[in-house]
Symmetry: C2
Subunit: 436 residues, 2 copies
Amino acid sequence: MTRPTPLSGFPEWLPEQRLAEQQVLDRLRRTFELYGFSPLETRAVEPSTSCCARGDLQGGLHAAPPAGDRRRRRRAEPRPALRPDCPFRPLCTGARRQAAVPVPPVPDPEGVAGERPAAGRYREFLQADIDIVDRDTLPSHYEAEIPLVIGDALRALPIPPVTILVNNRKLCEGFYRGLGIDDPEEILRIVDKLDKVGPSVVKDEIAQKHGAARADACLALAGISAKDASFVDEVRKLGVEHPLLDEGIAELAAVVETAREHSPGLVQATLKIARGLDYYTGTVYETELAGFEQFGSICSGGRYDNLASAGKDVFPGVGISIGVSRLLGLLFKADALSVSRPVPTAVLVALWSEEERAVSNRIAASLRARGIATEVAPVPAKLGKQIRHAERRGIPFVWFPANGENPDQVKDIRSGEQVDAEGWAPPAEDIAPTLR
Amino acid sequence: MTRPTPLSGFPEWLPEQRLAEQQVLDRLRRTFELYGFSPLETRAVEPSTSCCARGDLQGGLHAAPPAGDRRRRRRAEPRPALRPDCPFRPLCTGARRQAAVPVPPVPDPEGVAGERPAAGRYREFLQADIDIVDRDTLPSHYEAEIPLVIGDALRALPIPPVTILVNNRKLCEGFYRGLGIDDPEEILRIVDKLDKVGPSVVKDEIAQKHGAARADACLALAGISAKDASFVDEVRKLGVEHPLLDEGIAELAAVVETAREHSPGLVQATLKIARGLDYYTGTVYETELAGFEQFGSICSGGRYDNLASAGKDVFPGVGISIGVSRLLGLLFKADALSVSRPVPTAVLVALWSEEERAVSNRIAASLRARGIATEVAPVPAKLGKQIRHAERRGIPFVWFPANGENPDQVKDIRSGEQVDAEGWAPPAEDIAPTLR
């Protein structure tokens, strides 16, 4: 076997970074479960259809898009992001909650085929995705619930605070239609570029076709943001009226106020958020990580009414994805997230001689039975060498089995403190590697 | 989006089966961590090389083999099953323990390209793999440790008992060489077919080239099995001598005796086990599940000295893989493994009216804060309808918020028992879905 070739776009993380990733995924899954989300798996391959010829594999199969990656989901609609048994089967009753954590790392077929990987853009990545889907109708209060889940999930991690920016498609569309604009999608696409091209370019582009007054109104709407329902008055002040605008305002106010009660400061109505994807039909989400705003959204999604159907049944849904690989890549690079040690092991049991391995094995077994991760020294080297082995592996404690007159003892190799092993247990913070 | 096409070879499990799979993976990982195994990830794609042209994707990348699938690892050696940073980098000191749990479901490129999927053979599957690898040398006691880990991991699951069948390549090779046979690999390959073709065919095939006496000796060796070191005497009785035979006997005796102290009955020296793969160089493992013996090994592996190298460094290792999808497929089909409920949710909080949703949300938030997975009813339907919603979802408890004179109450919808909610918590066995 030859040394494997590093691959551009495939993150290679240190063992301790993998441990950190695992812990992040565990905590996300735990939060999702507390809200009733069931695990979801997606197949790594799907049957090809004529309209997704890119990324084709032989045999009529191709790599499937990552679950929850709505950009790809949309581009290749016949590739299901929801598995066939869910929500399409009768066993699914009531609003299904499904979480794909971890979405197995999936090679991005478009990335592999065409795109250049960039900072924070990987060709293979993990996403943690939640969706709530129902048949025929889905009450809008689920759009208010999604930010609570994400808030709980991300605030449970030792990372900088996040702000979830929310907007509502009905609000924007109703506003544009109230202005007499026939193609609200076009305005959405223009406003979506606001942060990139600046307000004057956006204004010019809208004004060219719809006049300066309408362009000003659109920019004024995009400029509104608030962490409570006060945005409603600001929108009303613009004097535009449309039934769809009213509906969107009510939905967005419910999202912001529900979140404000749950986690003050978590959610901010931000009326320039467009998400640029025409299948969103209600609330849309983006998420800023404090200090990392320039890297863009770390968690995005929205309400989609027309994405999934089967015969005459429709399956409206709302979902959001945390870009786990992207988020961790940014945090690792900034040295803003790590684990307390690089191995699960808390204790190395020393070994006096190969003949006494069974003695050390028994000690290890009894520690493991108490939930303490333990290894036995690889060889009966000199004691100093065994301690250095623990040090190099990052194992904090060495257990010395009884030897002649000496009873069993345990050494904390960080402090050098050595104590009688009788009744010893590692301090709570040393039982497992912890995120910090 | 159209209804996705079912794909032959891709298991589609019910939501409760996915929950079961998740719990199995969690428990396996927990056991692996107790032995100090660190998580390992493998890329889903690897650079193509000339000798693994099958399964090629465009762009010089192809789907990588599942980590730990040694058959494939061998067939396509330049495709690394061990990641580049591990164990090839200086940060790896001492024997590395790495566990790939879950190995992300990986489409089997060979299966996709050629093989027909069969019962228990999937084109996409999960494996849980552990390996211990070191630079230059790896003490043989690690070969005795692997069955302890697997024994702890599988015995922690509510599945039928397993027996790990072990043999040693040095023992067989030494025995055949002691008989004066020059090509021990050839005999291994013939003996590997024993269960399939029967002893007389095996005997004839060996006898043809090496004479009846040698064939009888080989069959006699293959017939030996024991759950303790008593196999040693039986081998000695065959009167064959060779230094490699002595080495193999000592190693196998250590594996069997170490396991016998740890978990009596778990490991059985079974001298017909060959594993048919010529890169194994020491202990080999297969695992039988009681009542499912006819489906073959559910967990296999062995010691490999020559699989990985980098320049003049070699990286001997020992590893084993649990075929998780295969194991679960067999158990699900036999109705021998399930979870206590199909959703994580323990409590559904009822809803009196849409205006009072914030009240129900607050109750849900306080239950979640106590680690109790909770949903709020989707709509303020009649109470009977809300209870039926919980029933259909498989949620065991419904919480009724205070209403007029009535205080908060909780109903166990299985027994119909309704109690005051003050200080209530679900019984331990109902907090989360449990494997059974």
